[in-house]
Amino acid sequence: MSDAGSFLLNNSNVDHSAYTPSSPSSPNPSHSLPAGTLGDLPVLSMNGITCRFNEVIANNDVHLDLFKGEIHGLLGENGAGKTTLMSVLYGLYKPEAGEIFVKGKRVDIKSPLDAIGLGIAMVHQHFLLTPSHTVTENIIVGLKSPGRSIFLRMAEAEKRILELSKRYGLKIDPKAIVGDLSVGEQQRVEIIKALYRDIDILILDEPTSMLTPVEEKALFSTLSAMVKAGLSIIFITHKLKEVIEASTRVTVLRGGKVIGTVMTAQTTETELAKLMIGRSLTHSVGHRQEEIHVGIEKSPNAKASAGLAKVLELKNVFALNNSGVQALKDLSLTVSKGEILGIAGVDGNGQSEMAEIVSGLRKIQSGQVLIDGRGITGMSPKQIREWGLAYIPEDRLNTGLILEYTIAENLILDRWYSSPYSGKIFLDKHEMRRFAEEIVTNFDVRTPSLDVQVRYLSGGNLQKIVLGRELSKEHKLLIAHNPTRGLDVGAAEYVHKQLFKQKDSGVGVLLLSLDLDEILLVSDRIAVIYAGRIMGVFDRATADVDKIGPLMGGYVAEATN
């Protein structure tokens, strides 16, 4: 039974709740689903996989079956153990316990080479391609030429790539240089690279994290073409919407354990969410923004001044990126007092450069940047901060914090020179400690002690330290760059609350985020950035994914899918 389409229609009689992942230990777990629905034998079966790092259990007795012709969603929050499980399968980690069966045979996968030999390929979240080589070169790398030839048979390879590309709807030019391709196209190269090796099982790790909504749709249709041709796909994600849209079955992981495996057609986002985070939802989605507002005092003054004064103005800004390529091209935008302007866009379209220019970390080629009416060109990052900028940087581990420092030391990273944190010559240890205690209390930082290096704290707590520092100073403008990336739901929620608080106190917020859902959730206005230009600005009320999506991919006129 390999036709995924009819399988979806036939599975209504499957009792998925009967599938108990902890019980089977037999190498042939065909009892997990009624025979005949998906074929008797799973192509892949992982039994009792346990994997730990030091004392942290990343996978705890995990069972997973993959049948021929299915797209199997592997769902879970950050740190649930999804990637670890797939790394075990791909030979990157050695599990402490557990067995893997491929097509009924017990296998020992020691390296990715073994995995590929067994017909398993993985497309990583960050692609492993050589940018200066062509598509074909990237695809055939590591393979032997047919017939012991010492020459590369490029023409043959190109022909086969075009064949695959046509069969699965993966549009690609085999002669193109990979570095010139968009992220979506590079992903296609990775997928073709896997298909080229005649694989049966394809693992995709968070495949949509860098794609525009349009590219996402194209990917899903490719995947369904692939399973129709008999492949099996494991699709790692933490986005419920995608699982519902693309998968045939879902396995939910939480805290390293399998919570359950269900038929996608028989479940809902709400039910999956419950499984994924371990408790039921108490809010209806539409009310969320208002809900977050509850309990935050709105100062009437802030409301009155909102929308009047411009806190940030960028006028015809041009700038280069680190490799000397034009990153911002004639970019103009404004942020007013008391509003959150969300910048939607795919990674690498000038967001980082924009944030760096406003904070004085990057030189501007031409144009003007005004913060609260004052031109900041020529001002040092220190002067700009003193003038009223708070900045939550994209990379909190390498830019926002010094991991070897304590909380107190990190909190004075931008004010070490000023009273009361230091005197004429020396730092004031007591004041630093008092301030650290204050921030830890106010921002609810969970730390075993004030004296540990912050490297031992979790991502959410690190972000709270950054927030504590940035929001505890006088500021008119807040730049928040991917402020919730890598955070779990609770911590992300906390960050959003803080953004609303800021806005209500009259601060202008520039939110740069790769997460379109986040932009739609918190912004008052939304600007779409593509290739260093603002493609359009929308009021929240008039913006939706269908309008924004195509612009994120650079399609101006083609607003339809």
Binding site: A58, I277, I402, F426, E493, L521
Partner: protein, 372 residues
């Protein structure tokens, strides 16, 4: 992840390891001595007696400590800021040259003023010389390691050239003229060679200790640890790198000036028997902090002074001291790897329930996708 890591109390293990490593180094050193036909215990006894056995011996050991300490501090300051200054030896020679130029030129001053001028000239010359790699690094991104290593040769050969001609004193040997007596560091204890450089070294150690508690020290250290974060926080990267190297080079130059004013009283080719290189080991073993450098510098001085007397009594070459130093370094470095590997087992695990990290979850991320 459902757990948070906390450093446990048994970290003190980490502090025992360096001593175990040192012991092993002496054990292996003993084997070498035994192979050379010497009773290791007797040899080690002579090292201790020769370096600490009499007031004269202690004075000599302290004289060596002075140079090793200041040079060690010089390197430690740079290393703390992740600037790999391997050029302390060259900076030391340039500092000695600066001290000499003042010492042979300034006459008729109050001795204290004269000595201070010599030392300041040493600091200035060392600092200026260390700014060469610093500027190259800041402006052109050239690695300071390569430049500082190579500048050692430049400095030593330059001094050698000067001593063959321009500043050569009349006579056969390549010596400079003596500095004026008022420029010499006074002897602290009669009938020993212990000079006032000990006070200078102590002041240098205090300076470095308090540097890290100061505003400027925090800036320098932050830039060293993470340039990106320091820039983001508004720190001036270029200024910090230049200042760090100037402090490091200045201290190295001070070492040279102290050797000149306290020991030789003139510039000679071998004014430093490689103190600038041993300083690298001292800085590493002293874990880049002032107190650690003090202890290690004294320990190394004991080894140096002791092995000189071992040479006199047992005929074991002085190079054995270097062998022992190298062994100590190797074992301590191995020990450090050992502590790092075993540390994670000493880390306590705390359950999420105890440290409830995310108390207020509201909705799952996917629900956001549904807004309107």
């Amino acid at each position: 992840m459902t757990t948070t890591l906390i450093l446990g109390k048994r970290l003190s293990f980490k502090h025992i390891v360096p001593f175990l490593s040192g012991g092993l180094a002496f054990l292996v050193g003993g084997i070498i001595l035994y192979a050379a036909g010497v009773d290791p215990l007797e040899a080690y006894a002579i090292i201790i007696k020769g370096s600490l056995g009499s007031s004269r011996a202690i004075a000599d050991t302290l004289v060596k400590t002075i140079s090793l300490l200041i040079a060690g501090l010089a390197v430690a300051v740079a290393f703390k800021c992740k600037l790999w200054n391997i050029g302390a030896e060259g900076q030391l020679y340039m500092g000695a040259l600066g001290g000499l130029l003042v010492g042979i030129a300034v006459v008729g001053m109050i001795p204290v003023v004269s000595v201070i001028l010599v030392l300041i000239a040493g600091i200035a010359f060392g600092a200026m010389f260390s700014l060469v790699p610093a500027v190259l690094k800041v402006k052109l991104g050239v690695s300071e390691i390569i430049v500082t290593v190579l500048l050692n040769f430049v400095a030593l050969l330059f001094i050698s050239y000067l001593l063959q001609g321009p500043i050569k004193a009349p006579g056969f040997l390549p010596y400079s003229p003596d500095i004026f007596p008022e420029s010499e560091l006074p002897i602290l204890v009669d009938r020993t060679r212990l000079h006032a450089g000990l006070i200078v070294a102590a002041l240098a150690a205090i300076f470095v200790h308090f540097l890290w508690k100061s505003k400027i020290g925090f800036e320098l250290k932050s830039v060293g640890m993470n340039i990106s974060a320091a820039r983001y926080g508004g720190m001036n990267i270029t200024k910090s790198i230049l200042i760090t190297m100037a402090i490091s080079g200045g201290l190295a130059g001070l070492t040279g000036a102290v050797l000149l004013a306290g020991v030789q009283h003139r510039l000679i080719e071998g004014i430093s028997p490689g103190y600038g290189f041993i300083a690298v080991i001292i800085a590493l073993l002293g874990r880049e902090n002032a107190l650690g450098v003090c202890l290690v510098a004294f320990f190394f001085a004991v080894l140096l002074a002791g092995s000189e007397s071992m040479y006199r009594t047992l005929g074991i070459p002085v190079a054995f001291a270097q062998t022992l130093q190298a062994l100590v370094l190797v074992f301590v470095l191995i020990g450090e790897v050992f502590t790092r590997i075993h540390l994670p087992k000493k880390i306590k695990r705390v359950d999420e329930d105890k440290l409830k990290i995310h108390g207020k979850q509201i909705g799952p991320p996917a629900e956001r996708g549904k807004v309107e």
